[in-house]
Symmetry: D2
Subunit: 397 residues, 4 copies
Amino acid sequence: MSTTAAAGERVPVPRDRENDHTHEAARARLEFARERTGASLDHVSSYSFDPGVAAGNIEQFVGVAQVPIGLAGPLLVNGEEAQGEFYVPLATAEGTLVASYNRGMKLVREAGGVKTTIMDDRMQRAPAFLFESAREAREFGAWLDENFDEVKEAAEQTTRSGKLQDIEQYTASRILFCRFNYTTGDAAGQNLTGKATAAACAWIMSNYPGKIERFLLESNFATDKKSSQVNMLRTRGKRVVAEATIPGELFEKVMRSSSERLFQARQVSNLGGFMSGVNNNGAHSANGITAVFIATGQDVANVAESSAAFVFAELRPNGDYYYSVTIPSLIVATYGGGTGLPTQRECLEMLGCYGKGGVKKFAEIVAATVLCGELSLGSAIVAEEWVEAHDLLGRNR
Amino acid sequence: MSTTAAAGERVPVPRDRENDHTHEAARARLEFARERTGASLDHVSSYSFDPGVAAGNIEQFVGVAQVPIGLAGPLLVNGEEAQGEFYVPLATAEGTLVASYNRGMKLVREAGGVKTTIMDDRMQRAPAFLFESAREAREFGAWLDENFDEVKEAAEQTTRSGKLQDIEQYTASRILFCRFNYTTGDAAGQNLTGKATAAACAWIMSNYPGKIERFLLESNFATDKKSSQVNMLRTRGKRVVAEATIPGELFEKVMRSSSERLFQARQVSNLGGFMSGVNNNGAHSANGITAVFIATGQDVANVAESSAAFVFAELRPNGDYYYSVTIPSLIVATYGGGTGLPTQRECLEMLGCYGKGGVKKFAEIVAATVLCGELSLGSAIVAEEWVEAHDLLGRNR
Amino acid sequence: MSTTAAAGERVPVPRDRENDHTHEAARARLEFARERTGASLDHVSSYSFDPGVAAGNIEQFVGVAQVPIGLAGPLLVNGEEAQGEFYVPLATAEGTLVASYNRGMKLVREAGGVKTTIMDDRMQRAPAFLFESAREAREFGAWLDENFDEVKEAAEQTTRSGKLQDIEQYTASRILFCRFNYTTGDAAGQNLTGKATAAACAWIMSNYPGKIERFLLESNFATDKKSSQVNMLRTRGKRVVAEATIPGELFEKVMRSSSERLFQARQVSNLGGFMSGVNNNGAHSANGITAVFIATGQDVANVAESSAAFVFAELRPNGDYYYSVTIPSLIVATYGGGTGLPTQRECLEMLGCYGKGGVKKFAEIVAATVLCGELSLGSAIVAEEWVEAHDLLGRNR
Amino acid sequence: MSTTAAAGERVPVPRDRENDHTHEAARARLEFARERTGASLDHVSSYSFDPGVAAGNIEQFVGVAQVPIGLAGPLLVNGEEAQGEFYVPLATAEGTLVASYNRGMKLVREAGGVKTTIMDDRMQRAPAFLFESAREAREFGAWLDENFDEVKEAAEQTTRSGKLQDIEQYTASRILFCRFNYTTGDAAGQNLTGKATAAACAWIMSNYPGKIERFLLESNFATDKKSSQVNMLRTRGKRVVAEATIPGELFEKVMRSSSERLFQARQVSNLGGFMSGVNNNGAHSANGITAVFIATGQDVANVAESSAAFVFAELRPNGDYYYSVTIPSLIVATYGGGTGLPTQRECLEMLGCYGKGGVKKFAEIVAATVLCGELSLGSAIVAEEWVEAHDLLGRNR
């Protein structure tokens, strides 16, 4: 109950230095936590796997959060990798969310599904190099271009799946900020790019004939776990576009709204978003992304970046509504990280995406899911059903 | 396996229209999902609670995501509500994360703990009102100011805990964008502010003597689930500052770094962040926030907003390092939403924060946790131990 | 010719310490400049006024820049202060500019003119106050609210025309950033708000019972001479909206374009602007603003802020094009600064705006001018006449 | 006096269709303006050149704005092109400005001058191409890369000095936004890049084997005359860094401030700037840039972009103050545009920069000037002399 006096001895969380990912070690911490805090933790300690499977995912493991999963679908996707219908697991505690996405999926299916396209794919680490003055920074930049092949070789020696594509340079003051851009196979790639770039920097520090005053492996230019204009412009993870064209009458039939009203509301939202300085002129892509991320073992903190989006819609002369959402920094994996954990893997398997070769298909499904949620919430707002729906489905006190 | 032909009949996820939150309904969906997708879902279907408890949290419930929780601490907080030591449950699949926060907590405890202060508290809904021209928008704005008391009364009739504090006005074109700012007790308050603002708008539409062409209950000016400058400036949820002053020698002892090197790196990060257009000049607050959010039943999609931050640090003449992080839109609850779900409630109880009266204490603990993670990762970067640590702890293939 | 060795004695520009704003003093500098640089300066030294009139506008006066003025119009304005037709002096060296604005004015006049509305009016200075910790910053903020009347009195003792309207507070770390918002009569008001706020701060420093570690009279929160989201949201100078509804057929008749094509192009520009992180989703308001500013003696460096804009357009069902431009931080004066200089005053007189009582009228004329230029360039782009026009009118080598 | 009834016939500004750039044509307009507006225009009509020289710079010429020029200097520059001392003409009506820059130049000269470096050079036009869906946009992007040489050839046939360096691609929805980046010799290059890109687009439209639904020559991605993150990241015009290291004692001797206080204030400004969403974390670079731009015939509306800046400063252990300002989109010319007008050319000649080969030297001088102004105003703020100085020098009513 947080009453321990601060002045006392530090009482660390118990750890088994030999093997800390065992039932025993977990139980010892459970007892410790119960004793210290008075919480029962009966549910937290109910998990269906051996702690050993989480060895690379967690330290000081004590149990699990059980996050409810609802099934939405069928979601019809016309992607390059994802083709056909999917039932999408959404892990959330926000009432209405699954129902809303489900409703959007129904609408879009009737309109022929979501077309998805991956436009770009690049994960980065962004070291900064400091020099005596700007002039040396510029010289170094030229040298870096000339020696790209060697740098690439040094980087790639540390990884099987990471491939260094290019190094972008941005200068300010006596500093060169770089973005080392990689493709990373089916992994999200933050760790492998970190390791590869550290190796590349080590090579650079040894081989650059000039004087580098200092380098920092990260400098707020990859903006990991943060939203930034540079990532919205230059991509982080997958850049995915989801598109659909919805006949006007479908909005009236399925959504009790209309494409005209949606389009007018979109114009207001575009203006509001521009004036408010938002990173997403859409409605709530973070909802769908977060729910899929939790279910499938993604690094959920990447919602910070992955929630940025560009919505572009058109009211066609015949009343059709063309709607697209571009996610410029969708960070996903089907291999590594939390994707191999028991429930998470099952959820990826439900989508046919687990493991090697699944990541682009998965990215397309996420983007398609997002589009459905956008149309659903957008319609609810113009139909003034939004508050009502939350009142109906989202009350649980 | 997503092989269903799109052309066929839509096969919806099974639902029990009478009561869909039962073991039977969940099992029916489980079978459906297994059949359709081939996934075993043995772990997803292992949960320790009755589906009825999740009635307001999820639709089409099929099981749970089990997200590993690690225990970090003790975290020493000198807040106004949170005082003393806490063991913080972090739900994540990112290896190294718990260890890194734990290390930061150790450092900061030796330095006397984290001081936390809640600077502001306001949750909003942002309707837009459209008029014939800008002039009528301006007139309406004046009327709205004059009639604030009536609007407030209309809004508050729908809620016990929501209190309308003020209405901010922002004009562009023939549109008035408003921010209806509420305090919302221990709830995060997105739903109650939606409902209250809908009622307020209904009152306005009935009582405004002029002509309102149209209104939209939301207009991208509350930027729910999105990061925006307006929220960073004007607060969404809690605005919390966490501060600590760390003796220079502690960095050398505990972190193998130094306050001088950290401070220099901070300058580079500030510049990098400014140039990259990032919403957070710190390191990775999203990591800690997300992990606490998942563990404690917060609306995790709010990481989109809650991950914005302002870091301000100073190297004092004696080598001490003053470090602060300001979270301008931290959206938290200790009541409602997912906070009452079994594991989530237990985790809140572990912090002594569950239920009424806990939300400010909880906000302080989150902010304090963030600060520890910032110092830990910041140190790892300057000590060049960062990649190594991930290599050691974050491998799980 | 910049050949003076740096190592030598510093040779300052000659000054007459008694009265430096005389023909003699100017001539002495002219000779100095000719000798040092080899430039003839025959034109620079051709001016039609006594240097004494520029005493408060320039130091080390040597002559003038002669910037060509073209006359555009008639511009038909339906403002609250500006009503009727105006011939607008545009000082520029960019060929095509005057012709383009003139063409837009013709189009808009046929459509009934531009409606203009001033939505807000506030000039600010933004001191920052530093405290031991965030908590003291918050306490100070409460005190400042309570003592607003005294602060206002202290501020207003320094100025006749400045009135302190309110003080906005923004917190981060242990710092309170304030915006002291004033109305400033017909002056732009940067100096008077500086002086008034300095006096207010002096009063605060003397009277605050707590401890203020330090204050800074400016802290990058008024963003004088810089563009910022806070000014776009909260206004700096005048917030003006200009609106017009143009019959579709007029675009075809006058502009060889169409409202449909303009509207589609607008959608693309909105998206491009959002993704590029621009401070103005319109075309080129800076052109018209700068040209009027130079002609009329405004502080031209304020183009940095004044060039921000929000464009909002609608294609009406009948093909009409509703177009509006909102200038959120238009900084103008008809009194003080450069407005009393000879040519500048004449240009203000041409618009009937010189001196007391003219500033709102002037702001409306500027905004109306901007709108005409937007429609003209927008049309030229969709009609693909843009490059041609520049080729025809903008060649002067 | 703007009393003409709007309902009447349009009375256009008189023009001589044969040759409109003559004394007669100008006089006719002068009479017209006098008659219509009642303004004397005696000073506006006092200019020292033949209207014919302004043929490519202005339409409907009626006279000139006489903007006072003050001479600041000597400015000591250690650039690559600009080397030695310069006396800089500043055209402004803001009292104090010249004195303040002059003071900064004195300080910096004593410290050994300003080091300047041009980091990048690229002027762009940004066409957008629309396709049926995102997939076709991506295909087109690949084709564009493959056919760069042909596109370049088509572009460069229209210009002698413009060289197409590369084409950046940014995708969103079914649109490819491009940045065609050119070097443009001594011209600013907006017109030549427009013309060259139009030719390139014409070639593309003729030769692309797929279907391009539509293209727009500009799409808010070059953000001409507007400030944007993309230009701050990717450069528009010249990217210039100015640097100086000032001994601590000089601040005390010359500025009555200290490097410690300046550095602390800089930290606060960095935070304020980050929170306010400003495009420049420095003080007032727009002041110096605008004043030089007006004097030397630059396109002054480019202050919108050119006023963006990154300031990076360091307090060195010995008390020295390293200060740098990076101007990422400085748009300058020494040839074409207004540079050949009489007073403007003389001012460029004063700097030894007029005509071919001068543009980089000129860019360096501008950046060096900016740095001096930053240090001067920064010092005035911390010394609390700022308001006083304005009171002394900036009063002219």
